[in-house]
């Protein structure tokens, strides 16, 4: 119950303002088609650079939580999932809105998100210290393998092709090695002066997540298609609340599935939403109503995609393995404040970590309140024309990447990485493993060097890195993550080359109400 002692930090004026700003801003960004939660959090990171670690994390945590929930607004009212996690919400939510039940769908969506989110954060509170205690037993060789596991898990699961996913991870690991080797004092892969200090995480994150989305937006040219919105008549909030209480089964299935999937590194909210939707339908006595505007579909999907937010931070805070691409960006946010996630994070930075986690708990409640009362407004703001959004994101990306070190070199790196990632994404590569390689590369490299020094004084590197129970378990997990992806890609069948419904500025995502597949889920999660 240590966390109870750190609630005070959340209610400090600046922290509260950041929490409110992150929540409202996140709801609007989440509701904006084409702006994913990952990109929203990446664009916010430069601002946190100028805040204290606690304040910065409060802002990022609030934005993470509310962008996932805010994506439901456009999924319901515009039939365009604001984020990959909201694809399942669009299946029934939009049908409800078309029938004039948009307000009911929005109420249920935010209430279910709130319940799922609170339970997810409670899991984070109670599981993280336990896992952190266990992780205290890890030495450099184990931590090296854990960092490699982080890259292989995300590379294998968060990509449409496992070869390209792992290749993306390798590119990220290589990029992380560029710059000055501080231990041995030598230069590595420095081709221009701009690379002397290595690749800073923030410009890289902005480039890798924001620029490809801008290029995607403008790839449609001078698109004249307008997005139709639906009128939202008033609906009694208490009626929605009673309906949620009566839908215990959908809420429970969504929350449990979301929490479990959140704990698995690399899987993400989109799969949580789709799996919860599918399982709720299987257990429902009204299967035929799913896809026609059934409230249980919205409740299951939204409770699941927010329930995964808290648990996705458990492996991040204890083992440095992010549970989702957005959690990978959060890892970058932690590192720029000098906070290295790991077994001792609760000993070294208890105030920062507990205040951050508590703020996520309060953030869930704020998200429900503001979500319900501002959803319709958020949808209107989110309809900003594509050219304004694209131009705005470009300028924010330029200023954001420049402001970190006040260096034009960072802006160059941001643009080059962004354009390169756009091209790679078009050929099936994925940004998330590349980012994780970039973030975990220095950690893996340092543990490798430390481990090599210890090994030189003992039985040699082979014995140090490849023997011992825990090493063998971790190596087995690395191999299993690659083998599983190989099996699903090569043996079961290659995923479809055509992408599934994914968040895009296009007005017609047409998510099918039929059984959503894991391949579909993986295709869009890459964003």
């Amino acid at each position: 119950m240590e966390f109870l002692g750190y609630f005070g930090g959340v209610f400090e004026p600046v922290a509260m303002m950041l929490l409110l700003g992150g929540t409202i801003g996140g709801l609007i960004l989440g509701a904006t088609p084409g702006l994913s939660p990952t990109m929203a959090v990446a664009l916010l990171i430069p601002f946190t650079f100028h805040l204290s670690a606690t304040q910065g994390l409060i802002l990022l945590g609030a934005a993470y939580t509310s962008t996932v929930a805010g994506g439901a607004v456009s999924a319901i009212l515009l039939k365009i999932p604001g984020a990959p996690a909201n694809i399942a919400t669009a299946l029934d939510g939009n049908e409800m809105a078309k029938r004039g039940e948009g307000a009911r769908a929005l109420h249920l969506s935010f209430l279910a998100s709130g319940v799922g989110g609170v339970i997810g954060v409670l899991l984070l509170i109670f599981l993280t210290p336990v896992l952190a205690q266990w992780a205290l037993k890890f030495g450099p060789s184990h931590l090296f393998w854990i960092a490699i596991l982080g890259v292989t898990v995300i590379g294998s699961l968060d990509s449409k092709s496992f070869v390209k996913g792992l290749l993306s991870g390798c590119i990220g690991l290589w990029l992380s090695q560029i710059g000055y080797d501080e231990i041995l004092g030598t230069e590595r892969f420095i081709f221009t002066d701009a690379l002397t200090g290595g690749i800073h995480i923030i410009p890289a994150l902005i480039g890798l997540f924001a620029i490809p989305q801008v290029l995607d937006m403008i790839s449609k040219g001078r698109d004249k298609s307008a997005i139709d919105t639906i009128e939202v008549p008033q609906h009694s909030f208490m009626d929605s609340f009673r309906e949620l209480v009566a839908s215990t089964r959908a809420l429970s299935i969504g929350t449990v599935i979301g929490s479990v999937i959140g704990l698995i590194p690399g899987v993400g909210g989109q799969i949580a939403g789709l799996v919860a939707y599918d399982q709720t339908r299987k257990f429902s006595s009204q299967k035929e109503k799913f896809g026609t505007g059934h409230s249980e579909g919205v409740i299951a999907a939204e409770s699941a995609n927010n329930a995964m937010v808290g648990p996705s931070l458990v492996p991040l805070l204890t083992l440095s393995i992010p549970g989702s691409p957005t959690a990978a960006v959060l890892l970058g946010g932690l590192l720029i404040h000098g906070i290295f996630p790991g077994s001792d994070i609760f000993d070294k930075h208890p105030e920062v970590v507990w205040t951050f986690i508590n703020s996520m708990l309060i953030g869930q409640i704020l998200m429900v309140i503001f979500g319900i009362y501002t959803a319709v407004w958020a949808a209107k703001i989110a309809r900003a024309p594509m050219p304004i959004m694209a131009a705005g994101v470009v300028v924010l990306a330029l200023f954001g990447s420049y402001s970190v070190q006040q260096s034009m070199g960072d802006v160059h790196i941001m643009l080059v990485l962004g354009v390169g990632m756009f091209v790679l994404e078009k050929f099936g590569f994925s940004a998330a493993p590349l980012v994780l390689g970039l973030i975990l590369g220095p950690i893996a490299g340092d543990y490798f060097t430390n481990g090599s020094m210890i090994a030189a004084a003992q039985d040699g590197p082979w014995a140090y890195f490849f023997t011992g129970g825990l090493n063998m378990v971790l190596i087995a997990l690395v191999v299993a993550s690659i083998a599983y992806s190989f099996w699903t890609n090569m043996i079961v069948g290659s995923p479809s080359p055509s992408p599934s419904p994914s968040p895009s500025p296009s007005p017609s995502p047409s998510p099918s109400p039929s059984s959503p597949s894991a391949d579909d889920a993986k295709a869009g999660e890459a964003k």
Partner: protein, 153 residues
Amino acid sequence: MESARLQHLIPAGCVLLLAAAVTYISFTQEPADSFLFPRIISMAFILLAGWNFIRAAAGMAKVGGGISKATAMNILPGLVVMIVFVFWAAKGLGFYVASTLAFMTIYSLYDPVPFSSVRDWIKRIIITGAFMCVIYGLFSMLLQVQTPRGLFF
């Protein structure tokens, strides 16, 4: 079918070349201790890049739709604006003036409203001005970021 294979072959070839360069540098640079971890990375990198290239050459690379000519043509003007900003205008003209021009140009280039409408040009100018005021408030006033000054501001 042949063009799709070629589309996959070119990026696969570029990635393979990059992997080869990384491997060459990792194994030829000294001190060896400093390049030990990069050597391990480069081994995995070149193996995977080679496998990816073989799959692309055999026409087995199907993930990713590639970039169509229409997409490339649509992106090109916006990309040119970004490149001009980043590599010349930001320092040549000044960060704020260049950003304002970049915002206005990208907005105008992709705005479906006809260029002949004076009213819409006024709207574009007002939106650009308002957005840049917010950016100035956030970065220069709140975060105290010193931006490069060129000919202008």
